[in-house]
Symmetry: C2
Subunit: 345 residues, 2 copies
């Protein structure tokens, strides 16, 4: 990455507190002779996804996909159509769904359980390949409901620049998100340059089902892990086996991940503040405790409005439709990669 | 890796069936213009550890560490000293312990549960840092009970050469083992060149415990995952997000991992046959089903006796003792790395 210096690093960041905090920290841990110098293997950075790398309002992008699946289930099985969460999905009742997410951020998970149980039912029995095909189609073809840009163009440009800047300094960057692992993995390479093996997220239980070829992984009607709050440090450790030295989040669900950074090593903790009604959204609901702790402990709060020159990259034009299955699955996989690539460049 | 061609690749492998199967497969998927050519990101190889990368007889090396911890618990708490598994640990009753492992491989897990429950009790409440300090000391200082070589010299030299050969062809190599994730991670970089983030293994439950600094991960008295048999493909997917195209195991616990390799892509499946009483051990107990399926499906069975010129590398001399805690944890971490490095080179 150091070889191509076409663009100035962090070009979309205004000069100011957060940019300086980032460059000073990176210099401190990477400059030979610095008392806090760390070898490359210790340079681990973790990023939340929803609301940190891409937009999460008016609802997380993944939720739109899930609702589409639920609505499909309700159409196929009318007995479900009067029950939550299928009812809300079928009726586009975003108020109910928004309230579920909001209550979760404030510690009330009763309706989250109703929602999750419905989701598990709707996906149970699907193979990984079938799930991925549906989810990729949604991601590549879909458009954000209010920003008038494609989902794949909803990544924050300054954050993508930060990922590149860290990589240029031999950091390994990971996503650690409450979002679904298998959903995110489909697009993190193309959107952020983060490959699937560096995506840590929530997951439903899978079972290996033998067949006469190589077997398949099939979703079970059971939850495996909800990668949020105090679970995040556990899953980060499980995947990476090191404490991160840089953590970047935006909500209460990222609080423990931010606390966990560093340990005996230096650390930089960043919290993205959504205060940009003009270019994105303005909200602090669900981030109150994180903002409070950031204030007490001197973590770096990044004001989207004041510190980012631009929020998004240019939107990349008309949607491309995914083609149907091809004869060779390898060729098909490459074709899908190619479509995602076109779609995000 | 391609830049240093000092040693012939796979130098400890005799010319013959397995060596040819490996080189032909690697050429087939890596040579430009080959109809089965795969890009580097699809080149994922998974290896079992116990009995595949290092020796597992007369008992898995990890079990010795666990028994030491159990014996320590029995000494501190005499009420435990008459109960299994503490009794067996205290009395060095390897017959009982061997029978537990053997019964597990044949589908009887009653005593495995007794053993695991005792292990969970003995480690519950330990922080990750404390666990790692104890386990690293055992690994670096310990010696194999019959082979007269240090634990860190119990890796199979032909397998380490294979790892280097695959890396030279842009494969990403992973360990997928029933062994404990946090135990293996301490030495896989030094022994095999596989970093901690590419170690998939069994784990006990962890909880994030806040404190006035960066918090700690603490072992709970609960199992998280036993990464064996049909669980292996699930955990491989969870960590990597791709199907491996090369899988190497040695027992029934690796059967599903071997089945899972490939999918729509080409695959090479290898099974190490322990038939070398002179230089290592000779046994097929616990590998019967895997050998049967290898025979039916034409998987590559590697005869240690016939196909390996040497089994182990040279043993690297006297043990080095780990020094005690130092003032700076960063310095201490580096010192431990340095000791492990000396110990394994």
């Amino acid at each position: 990455m150091m070889t191509t210096k076409a663009a100035e690093p962090l070009a979309s960041w205004n000069d100011g507190g957060s940019r300086a905090a980032i460059t000073e920290f990176v210099t401190r841990v990477t400059k030979r002779g610095s008392p806090d110098y760390l070898p490359a293997e210790a340079r681990v950075a973790v990023f939340d996804n929803d609301g940190t790398l891409w937009c999460e309002k008016p609802m997380p992008i993944e939720l739109g996909f899930i609702l589409g699946q639920l609505a499909g289930s309700a159409r196929q099985n009318p007995a479900l159509a009067d029950q939550q969460p299928w009812k809300a999905a079928k009726d586009h009742d975003y108020a109910w769904l928004g309230s579920v997410v909001d209550k979760h951020y404030h510690g009330d998970d009763a309706e989250v359980k109703v929602l999750l149980s419905g989701i598990l039912k709707s996906f149970a029995g699907m193979t990984m390949e079938a799930y991925q095909q549906d989810a990729l189609k949604y991601l590549v073809e879909g458009t954000h409901p209010t920003l008038n840009r494609r989902f794949l163009d909803c990544g924050y440009r300054p954050m993508i620049e930060l990922l590149r800047y860290l990589e240029a300094h031999d950091f390994a960057t990971y996503i650690a998100s409450g979002g679904d692992r298998d959903f995110m993995r489909l697009i993190t390479q193309k959107m952020y340059g983060i490959p699937g093996e560096r995506v840590v997220g929530s997951s439903s239980a899978l079972r290996f089902q033998e067949d006469d070829r190589c077997g398949a992984l099939v979703y079970q009607e059971a939850h495996e892990v909800f990668d949020d709050g105090p679970v995040k440090p556990v899953r980060i450790w499980s995947r990476i086996g090191r404490r991160p030295i840089l953590a970047f989040g935006n909500s209460n669900g990222d609080l423990q991940m931010l606390q966990y950074a560093g340990g005996d090593l230096p650390a930089l903790r960043l919290l993205l503040l959504h205060d940009d009604k003009e270019r994105e959204f303005a909200y602090t609901s669900g981030a109150e405790r994180a903002l409070q702790e950031a204030s007490t402990k001197g973590w770096t709060v990044v004001s989207m409005r004041d510190e980012w020159k631009t929020v998004f990259g240019r939107s990349s034009g008309p949607q491309r439709r995914l083609s149907g299955p091809r004869e060779s699955p390898v060729a098909d996989r490459r074709a899908q990669d190619s479509i995602s690539q076109q779609a995000t460049h």
